[in-house]
């Protein structure tokens, strides 16, 4: 019987009469080895997802349940080897050499990685859709604000008979708007007037134009009768936190600043693999699509502005599970609070954060 051969043509001569050729021996062997490599690499990635709690890699739904991840990894790897040796008699015949093995393993690795990232993203999306029920702000008294360049929403407590402290809230520019947001509702419940600033489309977020937003919001608030102009604070989330600190550094009318997970340093905008602890791969790519983030953090240089706040109250809050910004780096700088169990994405929406923010502003504004 004539042996079936797959040859990727003669590549390059190494020596007279010696040619280096990729020879996959038989399609059956090559395909089986490819499948073995594919399945075992998916298994290895599940081991990695379980070990490092990587939500962006897990195929079992929850990265917080590592036992299932380890079990899936073990099953995939063991069954793949058993299957391969059971159905591939060519294993004990002249077979694939190192170069063919490397090529097949490399291609299988890329396919396994792409499959895992995509499948995990789809799973993550389905689960996230089930879990996230947006909190309505319809019960809150609010009005749309459009004043000069300023766009946003003003939330008012029920009782505004006497002037109230007010807070300008800056979301992350990639979120566009902070309404509705649990932290806003809790602040209004505590009697604060909250003006949430809308960024509009990401592409329109620019430095230094963005520096005008907070002073503009403060100017608007001081014109309102319901607002006590001596008690205006700033709340910023993510990059909005950097902007809040920077603006407060030059605007003495801002009496207190609270920043939720600000970047402070450009290096923190490149989290690498750790980002997959909090989001799926497709979400991470979307997060990365806001390319100006690193540049804006560097331009805002919020860390330099902290000293300009003087004795005015400042609090930085990070989640201790924040996989994007390592809070411990900033811990030594003081004026920092770490919330247990919260990540970069979950921090702003957490009830514990809302309660802490409301309590802190009540004590410091």
């Amino acid at each position: 019987m004539q042996e079936t051969r797959i040859c990727l043509s003669v590549a390059y001569p190494l020596h007279q009469g010696v040619h280096y050729v990729l020879n996959f021996i038989s399609p059956h062997l090559a395909i089986n080895y490819f499948l073995l490599a594919f399945i075992t690499i998916v298994g290895a990635l599940q081991f990695v997802a379980a070990r490092h709690r990587l939500a962006g890699l897990t195929l079992i739904g929850s990265a917080s349940k590592p036992t299932w991840g380890y079990l899936l990894a073990t099953l995939l790897i063991m069954l793949a080897f058993v299957w391969f040796f059971a159905v591939t008699p060519e294993v004990f015949e002249p077979g694939l050499a190192g170069s063919e093995l490397a090529v097949l393993f490399g291609i299988a690795g890329l396919c396994a990685l792409a499959f895992t990232l995509l499948a995990s993203s789809i799973l993550h999306r389905v689960q996230h859709r089930e879990k996230s029920a947006p909190r309505s702000d319809s019960r809150l008294r609010h009005e749309a604000v459009s004043w000069q360049e300023l766009r946003g929403t003003l939330y008012l407590p029920e009782d505004t008979n006497e002037p109230r402290p007010a807070i300008c809230a800056l979301p992350a520019p990639s979120e566009e708007t902070l309404s509705p947001h649990p932290v806003v509702a809790d602040l209004v419940d505590e009697g604060f007037i909250v003006l949430t600033i809308d960024w509009g489309p990401e592409k329109e977020v620019r430095y230094p134009a963005m520096l005008a937003s907070l002073p503009s919001a403060v100017a608007y608030l001081t014109r309102r009768d319901e607002v006590n102009p001596e008690r205006i604070g700033a709340l910023g989330i993510d990059l909005g936190g950097d902007l809040a600190i920077r603006s407060a550094g030059t605007d003495q009318q801002i009496a207190a600043v609270l920043a939720l997970a600000p970047f402070l340093s450009q290096a923190n905008t490149q989290p690498g693999l750790s980002i997959l602890k909090e989001m799926s791969y497709l979400e991470a790519l979307r997060w990365a699509s806001f390319r100006k983030r690193g540049k804006l953090v560097a331009e805002l240089a919020a860390l330099d502005s902290i000293s300009k706040l003087g004795s005015r109250p400042l609090l930085l809050i990070y989640g201790d599970q924040d996989s994007i910004i390592p809070a411990e780096e900033e811990m030594a700088r003081g004026r920092l609070k770490s919330l247990p169990g919260e990540g970069h994405l979950s921090l702003p929406g957490s009830p514990a954060t809302s309660a802490l923010v409301a309590r802190w502003f009540k004590e410091n504004l």
Binding site: A37, P94, G98, L101
Partner: protein
């Protein structure tokens, strides 16, 4: 030297065919698929290992250097094969053969070269994982003698060639650092490093 090599070969190879379990285990270890794939999977897992970015980067550098060491060792091995051909043990002697008849040169052992180049490079960065890989590389090499396809000297030469390539790449291969940094930076941008 060759007599000693043959004596040692006989000592190990004569164990074959006496114990069905040992023979099965050797056949599992001796083929090109099981241990090479296992070692590659360990490297895949090691790529993601580390508590922070710096630790991960160190591990990733180790892996990339191990791959370069593997490449260098293979180039040297091919050159050795071009200038010196040593027949397999079963060609000149009666042996207990548990594997197919490879036709390429017996010296130096290809599996030993591959296994020891990767294991040594990792060992130079991470003693614990490196030691585990060295155990796997040793098992891979011993199984080749047990199954009758390599002399001990082939394996020792392969192991030395692999280890030397790893040492050269890890300790003296600073010139490949820019390429390694580029790969890691690209991986980080893609959230894969």
């Amino acid at each position: 030297m060759m007599a000693l090599d043959l004596q040692l070969f006989r000592l190990i190879n004569n164990l074959a065919g006496r114990n069905a379990f040992l023979d099965s285990l050797a056949r599992l270890l001796v083929n090109e698929y099981f241990l090479t794939t296992t070692m590659a999977l360990i490297l895949v897992i090691f790529w993601f290992e580390g508590q922070d970015r710096d630790q991960r980067e160190r591990n990733q550098r180790a892996i990339l250097r191990a791959l370069v060491a593997l490449l260098l060792a293979n180039i040297i091995l091919k050159l050795c094969n071009l200038i010196y051909f040593r027949p397999r043990p079963f060609v000149d002697h009666e042996v207990n053969l548990l594997f197919y008849h490879p036709t390429d040169s017996s010296f130096p052992s290809n599996p030993a070269t591959v296994g020891f180049s990767v294991a040594t490079a990792i060992w130079l960065y991470n003693r614990r994982l490196g030691a585990s890989l060295l155990v796997l590389a040793t098992l891979f090499s011993l199984s080749r003698i047990y199954c009758g396809v390599h002399y001990p000297l082939d394996v020792i030469a392969g192991a030395l060639l692999g280890a030397l390539s790893a040492y050269l790449v890890v300790r003296k291969g600073g010139f490949i650092d820019p390429l390694i940094s580029l790969i890691i930076r690209t991986g980080r941008r893609l959230y894969l490093a």
